[in-house]
Amino acid sequence: EADIYQTPRYLVIGTGKKITLECSQTMGHDKMYWYQQDPGMELHLIHYSYGVNSTEKGDLSSESTVSRIRTEHFPLTLESARPSHTSQYLCASSEYKGGGLYEQYFGPGTRLTVT
């Protein structure tokens, strides 16, 4: 089982609040990712990181921001939550398996509801 953790698992919060979703991994992986998953929709990459102090935006535009100060920690922040941010947020890290393949390990997700 992958050692990647996300907190909180569930969050219901009012519009306008600032929130931080936590993600940590104990595998020492350099590459980490944040995905957004909505029912019946594919996973969309919103942020990724190659390593400490390296972050990039993903394919799906997001008002969230991320930071990578430590290898094991990759938090996601929303400065002002809105109902449109309601979604499941999945954090992942990856390990190079050789031959050009990275295996991604996912956390259990944070289900965010903004009222």
């Binding site: 594919e42 996973l43 990039e56 999945l90 050009g100 393949l101 956390g107």
Partner: protein, 114 residues
């Protein structure tokens, strides 16, 4: 048009049935083809992957890739209630070093009835 198409289901089968899950894709440059399993309230976990065309077997699971048809399949033999989950296909171009984009299907929800 989405790069990866997957029937969302749900698919309901009796225990012991053979299950076939499928995806089609449009990008002929994809090299790695993966199947993830996602249980309710959990993150996806990698089940199997294949490189380029061909078959790969792991216990009751067989993954097939037909690059000429841009079609991939996952077969589950002797399905068990514990196989009840959402199965996501995923594909990537491969390559070491930089970011390796993974494109996911929407997932097929499978229920195996005891």
């Amino acid at each position: 048009q989405k790069e990866v198409e997957q029937d969302p289901g749900p698919l309901s089968v009796p225990e012991g049935a053979i299950v076939s899950l499928n995806c089609t894709y449009s990008n002929s440059a994809f090299q790695y083809f993966m199947w993830y399993r996602q249980y309710s309230r959990k993150g996806p976990e990698l089940l199997m992957y294949t490189y380029s065309s061909g078959n790969k077997e792991d216990g009751r699971f067989t993954a097939q890739v037909d690059k000429s048809s841009k079609y991939i399949s996952l077969f589950i033999r002797d399905s068990q209630p514990s196989d009840s989950a959402t199965y996501l296909c995923a594909m990537s171009l491969g390559g070491s070093g930089g970011y390796q984009k993974v494109t996911f299907g929407t997932g097929t929800k499978l229920q195996v009835i005891p």
